[in-house]
Structures are given as structure tokens and as C-alpha cells.
């Protein structure tokens, strides 16, 4: 699996919303179960940034940290996270139409 946002130009900085979308997409595309290490690598973030974003997503109830087979910690999308991802494209169009 390739790191996300591969459709972007080289050296183009991702916006906060794009990073959130990428993290959620990685989780969804990994059958909704992914280890923190793999998630960090595939979402193309430094450890510090990854901690920051995942903390925020957890506090907003978009992702949850679960136990997989009683041993490992894995991240999974919550229904709110799935809904956010479904509506993301629409939300970007909404922001563009208003110029914000």
C-alpha cells in the first residue's frame, strides 16, 4: 500500500483536513483494523504529528483504539469517522463554494 495523497504535487504541503482524510482513508482501506506503527507510516506523518492528529481524532470520536485478539492495540474507525469520510468531498466543495 502506498502512502496517501499520492495525487498531490511533489513538495505540496497537505492541509489539516487533508491529513485527517488521509488517516481515515488508511484505516478504512485496511479493513478498519490497523496497527499504530503501520498507520503512522502509511499516513506519512512524523511521530509527533501522528500523536497529535490521532489524539484529536480520538477526542472527537472519529477513531478508537481497540484490542485485537486481546493482544495488540489497533485503530478502527467509529461510525462518526466513517460518516466524516463519506462526506469529506462534499465538505471540501462546500468550503470552496464559500471561499473559506
Amino acid at each position: 500500500m502506498e502512502p496517501y495523497s499520492s495525487d498531490m504535487k511533489p513538495f505540496q504541503k497537505r492541509s489539516r483536513l487533508e491529513i485527517i482524510q488521509d488517516i481515515l482513508k488508511v484505516i478504512r482501506d485496511s479493513n478498519n483494523i490497523i496497527s499504530p506503527t503501520k498507520l503512522q507510516r502509511l499516513s506519512n506523518l512524523s511521530y509527533q504529528m501522528f500523536e497529535e492528529y490521532l489524539g484529536e481524532l480520538e477526542s472527537k470520536g472519529m477513531v478508537e483504539l481497540k484490542q485485537y485478539k486481546g493482544k495488540r492495540n489497533v485503530y478502527a474507525l467509529t461510525p462518526k469517522g466513517k460518516q466524516f469520510l463519506d462526506k469529506y468531498e462534499d465538505f471540501i466543495s462546500f468550503l470552496r463554494e464559500f471561499g473559506i
Binding site: M8, S15, F84, K87, I92, F94, L95, R96, E97
Partner: protein, 260 residues
């Protein structure tokens, strides 16, 4: 006894001044302004309510500033509505109504001014957020950024006043036009960001541009005097209403799409 007489004379003088001020404004103007302001309050608060629903789902910081803009516009127009209502009451020329107008005029005017200031800062924050969001992670940094924009908006007003006093109104208008072009460029860059290449089918951003034009170039009526200034002021109010209607229409459409 002397103090009592002095107070009575002062109070009498005060009431006479207020009464003269009220006499200058026609009843038609007062009722027309009341209607316009009531509409503006209603529309601004409706935009705030609808945007709050979208914000509670997406929690995008730029949208938070956008919704707060309309809360402050709603409040500012509400304070102006109260002020004009006091004028209407004072038309009855009773001592109590004149006194009420006299004592509430300055506080209501100040409250409206502060709310307009906050609305402007929030509007500016909403369009500039995309540009700075990557660098402002901590809550304290966001707060500092907001304070910076408050200062910038205040400075903009002060610079405008200074230029108009030292160089004249037309130079001041040129300065405002320069600021306006800068704001247009910011809005344009937001419309192009997000990696989207699809054309924009519904130009709701026109409502935002209209609002910016009115709040940042709002002093154009000062270039004229008398009836033409009054007409320009009414035209500005009507354009503000149009901007609110455009934005509300867009927000309603998008809240249906995003929240179902």
C-alpha cells in the same frame, strides 16, 4: 439647593439636545431602518444556526470563525435595532422616552461597534484560516492569531482615519481598495485549494465578497453629503441583506447535503 437647580437645568438641557436630535430623523426613516435591521438580525442568526449544525459535524476551525461572524453581525444589528427603537419611542416626545434614548444611545452604539469589530475579525479569520492552519497547532497560538487579527482590523480603521485626515477621503478610499484586493486574493486562493479542479457551480462566495466589500469599504458614503449619503447608506443595507440571503441559501443547501 444650588446643586438641585444645576441638575435640573442640566437635565433640561440634555433632554432638549436629545429632542433636537430626534426631530432631525423622519418617522419614515426610523420605520424603514427598523424593518431592515429586524431582517438583518433574523437572517444573520439563521445563518449562525445552520452553520453551527455543519460545524458540530465537521469541526473545521475556519467554519467556527465563519459561524461566529454571523452571531456577531446578528448581535450588532440587534443593538442597532434597539437604538432605532429608542428613537421611535422618543418620537412621542415624552420626558421618559427622551431620557431613555439619551442614556442608552452611547452604550448601545458602543456595543454595536464592538460586535461589528468582532464580526469583521471572525470573517477575516475564516478566510485566512486555511493559510495558517498548518502552523497553528496549539490553542494558545490560535488565540494569539485571533488577537493579531483584532489588532490588524483596529489598525486598518486607524490608518483609514489617519489617511482621510491627512491626505483626504479619496486617498483613504484608495487604501481601502488596496486592502480589498488583498482580501479578494485570499478568497480566490481558498477556492483553488483542496486539490479540486472542478468548476464551482454555485458561487456562494459572492455573498462573502459582498459582505467584505460592505464592511471594509463601508465608509464610501462619507465621500458624499446629505441625501446622496443617505441613499448610499440604504443601498449598502439592501446589499447586506442580499449577501445574507445568498449565504443562507447556500448554507441551507449544504446542510441538507452534509447532514443527511
Amino acid at each position: 439647593m444650588t446643586a438641585g437647580l444645576f441638575n435640573a437645568t442640566l437635565s433640561e438641557e440634555f433632554l432638549n439636545q436629545v429632542s433636537e436630535g430626534v426631530a432631525v430623523v423622519s418617522l419614515f426613516d426610523i420605520i424603514f431602518s427598523l424593518l431592515l435591521l429586524a431582517l438583518m438580525v433574523g437572517l444573520a442568526l439563521q445563518i449562525f444556526r445552520e452553520t453551527s449544525k455543519i460545524y458540530s459535524f465537521m469541526e473545521y476551525e475556519g467554519l467556527r470563525y465563519f459561524k461566529n461572524t454571523f452571531l456577531f453581525y446578528g448581535l450588532a444589528n440587534f443593538f442597532l435595532f434597539l437604538l432605532i427603537l429608542m428613537f421611535l419611542l422618543a418620537k412621542s416626545s415624552t420626558k421618559e422616552s427622551l431620557y431613555l434614548l439619551g442614556i442608552s444611545m452611547i452604550p448601545l452604539f458602543l456595543l454595536a461597534g464592538v460586535c461589528f469589530w468582532f464580526a469583521k475579525v471572525n470573517l477575516l479569520s475564516s478566510i485566512s484560516w486555511k493559510m495558517v492552519e498548518g502552523t497553528l497547532g496549539k490553542r494558545f497560538h490560535k488565540f494569539l492569531y485571533f488577537i493579531f487579527l483584532m489588532f490588524l482590523t483596529l489598525m486598518d480603521t486607524l490608518v483609514y482615519i489617519l489617511i482621510s485626515l491627512l491626505l483626504g477621503e479619496y486617498y483613504a478610499f484608495g487604501y481601502k481598495a488596496f486592502i480589498f484586493v488583498f482580501i479578494l486574493l485570499l478568497i480566490r486562493s481558498n477556492m483553488r485549494s483542496g486539490g479540486e479542479t472542478k468548476p464551482i457551480t454555485n458561487p456562494y462566495y459572492l455573498g462573502l465578497i459582498l459582505l467584505f466589500t460592505l464592511s471594509f469599504l463601508g465608509n464610501i458614503s462619507m465621500l458624499h453629503e446629505g441625501k446622496s449619503a443617505e441613499l448610499i447608506s440604504y443601498a449598502f443595507d439592501l446589499l447586506t441583506l442580499i449577501a445574507y440571503v445568498i449565504i443562507l441559501k447556500g448554507i441551507r443547501k449544504w446542510s441538507r447535503i452534509l447532514l443527511t
